[in-house]
Amino acid sequence: MVVNSVHWFRKCLRLHDNPALQEALNGADTVRCVYILDPWFAGAANVGINRWRFLLEALEDLDNSLKKLNSRLFVVRGQPTEVFPRLFKEWNVTRLTFEYDPEPYGKERDGAIIKMAQEFGVEAVIRNSHTLYNLDRIIEMNNNSPPLTFKRFQTIVSRLELPRRPLPPITRQQMDKCHTQIGENHDLLYSIPSLEELGFRTEDLSPAVWRGGESEALDRLNKHLDKKVWVANLEHPRVNTCSLYASPTGLSPYLRFGCLSCRVLYYNLRELYMKLRKRCSPPLSLFGQLLWREFFYTAATNNPNFDRMEGNPICVQIPWDQNPEALAKWAEGRTGFPWIDAIMTQLRQEGWIHHLARHAVACFLTRGDLWISWESGMKVFEELLLDADWSVNAGSWMWLSCSAFFQQFFHCYCPVGFGRRTDPSGDYIRRYIPILKDYPNRYIYEPWNAPESLQKAANCVVGVDYPKPMINHAEGSRLNIERMKQVYQQLSHYRGLSLLASVPTIQEEAEPPMTDESQTSSGPDSPPRDAADGEAAGCSVAPDSSTVCSFSVPPPDLEDRPPCTSSLPRLPSPRSKPSSPSSTSSPSPSPASVAQRRKGIARKARRSQRQRGRPSCPPAARGEEMGEERMEEEEQLEEKMEEEEKMEEEEEATGQQQ
């Protein structure tokens, strides 16, 4: 039977490590690589010109690479559901391949396409290649819900087998076997559109700082690894002024568009580490950014409302303000805080900013100063940020606005001090806000405090040439910390004075499930007290706390309690550990017993590992102390090393099966 394959490029715009593409070629008589794009929607979509340019360059590069293999890229205009029936018939397609898209929107779209393919008798082949791990597997290992803390996520990941090894790029030889005649009119029908065709004006467009495409990505990968060797600091590069600028070794946009395979990066880092550290197994922190990406993908994959507050089960409901004017000032870099404005300008001009800079502007927009919803900020990033993945973008915004993932909210980045710490010279500001270039270092982060004479001498009078600060940061952060406290105390039913105790910790994720007895007898668990400083909200009352633990000193209970209130529990008492001044210390095991248990578990784990020949923990071990498992890591290290080779062989084998 004749096999006519179509490979559908979407998130993985590359020829290397592309398992779905390999499947398309496998035993096929013809292969066509398509990218589907709807120019009508391009201008309307919330995607800025830099991101479109990056995408078009990536497509250009793909087409060039395919040309070298005597093939071409078919850019088909339209919507997938309309395009495919046409292509199926026209090209007599029998096989459709694409990579697995774990994001809810993509899953829905792909479901429809797979169904359609079935109706046309087309075999659909889907392969996982955009993430390191099978996300469903991670969820399964976490009792069928995505891990909500990064530590928990790391614990699970450390038990998984290593990611599948990357596949080599496709070759001319492979392509020749399924050579497909390219029509005379190919460029007429299937050319890559220009920015103009997509409705963008390009007269004033400055040259791209980040050039899209696989070739560029691989080039950068090499430089990235060289730099790691040269800096000789693999895990924790310290941030300095240079970090703020676009670097020729930066990779994040390339991971986003799949120009670079995350597994290629993973294994390159791993091998480099083992080479430099004499075959020592690398710590998870080596893969920081890759794992964060994976973490947010996992959290989002089954949550279609991951990008909004309403209807999003993991998102704390915070009464954000709606203030379009303030939002516009932030988005356009007119806040009057040079540090914030420089970052937003860099983002708009170049499409990338350092992650600390992201923290700074995200905190400023949300919980730090403006008290505007993270959703608004996320949309601006979605438009401007080259590496904005749907999951990672929404997840990071929730994280930074303390809307999810159990974040402490006490610390707001200062829009003056944080910049100064990061770049004391102020050169970063001068580069992106040239009007401030003549300000001395002392005032460049707070020009409004400069004497008028100095402002005049520097040719930039605040309030005339550069905006006054749009908010009093001290006042704003004072208000906002109270608001956050309000929200979190309501959630945790915590009613003490400590700021740090009001964020509930999810004990399920860190410790073994406690029995009811242990819960009621373990002193410091916060009693299911009523909301917030319940005083005024008097309506909320715990009429009888005799069934719950008692405080050594009863917590202040100044309000008169209405005699007959209470409703169904809205929230099971989160087993948080308040450090309320009146609570006693937790009856935790003595150091000796911890150590003993730790060793015991480690030994058990070691045994089970030997039996299985790999370091992943089977479900049976799941009931044991999660947190302590994590601490065993060091002890397990040597074993891992012993088993490394065996494991890798196994990896290879399973990889090929996939």
């Binding site: 895990e235 994280w399 001290a474 309000e559 209405p562 209130t565 409703s567 169904l568």
Partner: protein, 439 residues
């Protein structure tokens, strides 16, 4: 998981009374058993209308307002139950403009009905308003109609911006005094960020001095030290007080520690700088000493939002502070003084510091602040070995240890990957530094 349930909780918040999980669950279970019993004795189409009133009331207490409203449409009896005074003792008015808030608002018709039929039942009332002045004004309008009720608690809560500050002062004051004059037995009053003033506090005192136990009025710029002193002088039952530093005086502390006065439990002070370089007064050590003598267990919570050069008057002498929050950058020197002069310190949060490590300061704090059980560090630096030493000195009483990862500077003794283990060992539980996504 929890979050999910939290969310569901949010959804049910139609101003219904709230939640105390385990007991509520038990009661519901008990109730449902009773219900089953009732149902069992009746014929299959048993007469639900004959459910005893007390039982119905009990059930209704567990229902969110909206469900209660639906239930009230079932029959006359249930409709009567819906209006039972017991169900209207507490109410949270949520006043939000759809254009400026993400949250639902209490329906205007419901508000009208409450004022008409239930205002005399209200005892525990709070208003949550969004950032628009309209919402705050609407809250004032409702307040001024609460003429025939006697409130025990009242809370005015701005969920975003302090919108009560934008309401014309006279309007706000007249609405608030309606409550003060009519209630006569207010025990808890939360009016942070509002334009309350001295004369209205006098009205409060004149009518509620015997019952007032809690007063929160941080950032109320129209109150003077004399105004708050009048409250402290007259309201001897006051146990919890929150205000800004400019209202704090030696006289106030002495008034609060007079013999007639009950023990104070909490005093929260916000130290806020209006403009850079502001000068702050000092409080005598003898006044603090008097407080501690009178109320040995009282908590002193201080939030600082100052510029670094404004800390001069603070921490030069012993101060009985228990919870310290530094919202802005604070110098090494000041933290050094904290280590010397805050023997009662329980919680310390430092949001930012300069570029020099806080090693000696932390160790000094560990040594002198023997009650310290919670610490949070933001934009600071500490060397890993000093941090380990600090944790070792404090040991297990550190129940909250929230340290940003960037704070810890690796040194010859510990790398970042090693420190979590070392600290966990001293704490007796698993600990990790706080992380931010790299993205």
């Amino acid at each position: 998981m929890h979050m999910k349930r939290m969310k569901e909780g949010e959804e049910g918040s139609d101003g219904s009374p709230s939640k105390s999980p385990p007991e509520a669950c038990k009661k519901v279970r008990k109730m449902s058993k009773e219900l089953e019993a009732v149902a069992a004795t009746e014929s299959p189409d048993g007469n639900w209308a004959r459910l005893p009133q007390e039982l119905l009331l009990h059930i209704f207490q567990y229902l969110p307002l909206l469900d209660r409203a639906y239930a009230s449409q079932v029959c006359r009896g249930w409709n009567q139950a819906f209006h039972m005074p017991e169900l209207w003792r507490c109410f949270e008015f949520e006043l939000n403009q759809p254009a400026s808030s993400y949250l639902k608002a209490t329906h205007p018709d419901l508000i009208k009905q409450i004022i008409k039929r239930h205002s005399n039942h209200l005892q525990y009332v709070s208003f949550k308003v969004d950032s628009s002045m309209e919402s705050a004004e609407a809250a004032c309008d409702i307040l001024s109609q609460l003429v025939n009720c006697s409130l025990k608690t009242l809370g005015l809560i701005s969920t975003a911006r302090p919108s009560f500050m934008e309401v014309p002062k006279s309007h706000f004051i007249s609405a608030l005094t309606v409550v003060f004059v009519n209630s006569k037995s207010l025990s808890s009053l939360k009016i942070d960020d509002t334009p309350v003033d001295d004369p209205s506090l006098k009205v409060l005192v004149a009518n509620n001095s015997d019952t007032l136990k809690l007063l929160k009025m941080s950032s109320c710029p129209h109150v003077s030290p004399a105004g708050i002193l009048c409250v402290a002088d007259q309201c001897h039952g006051l146990r919890e007080l929150a205000l800004n530093y400019h209202l704090l005086s030696d006289e106030l502390l002495l008034a609060l520690s007079s013999e007639k006065h009950v023990h104070l439990e909490h005093l929260r002070i916000d130290v806020v700088s209006e403009n850079p370089g502001q000068h702050f007064h000092t409080i005598k050590k003898s006044s603090w000493d008097a407080m501690v003598r009178h109320s040995p267990k009282f908590n002193l919570v201080m939030y600082f939002f100052l510029y670094e050069d404004e800390f001069g008057p603070f921490f030069n002498e012993e101060i009985p502070v228990t919870h310290l929050y530094f919202g802005r950058s604070v110098s090494k020197e000041v933290l050094g003084r904290v280590g010397l002069h805050c023997p009662r310190l329980v919680e310390l949060v430092v949001c930012a510091n300069g570029l020099r490590p806080l090693d000696e300061e932390l160790i000094r704090i560990a040594k002198h602040c023997t009650q310290l059980s919670a610490i949070g560090l933001g934009e600071c630096e500490v060397s890993c070995s000093a941090f380990v030493e600090f944790v070792k000195m404090c040991g297990r009483r550190l129940s909250q240890l929230s340290i940003m990862e960037e704070v810890l500077i690796p040194d010859h003794q510990y790398s970042l990957d090693e420190i979590h283990w070392e600290v966990s060992k001293h704490l007796g539980r698993v600990w990790f530094p706080d992380m931010m996504p790299t993205w």
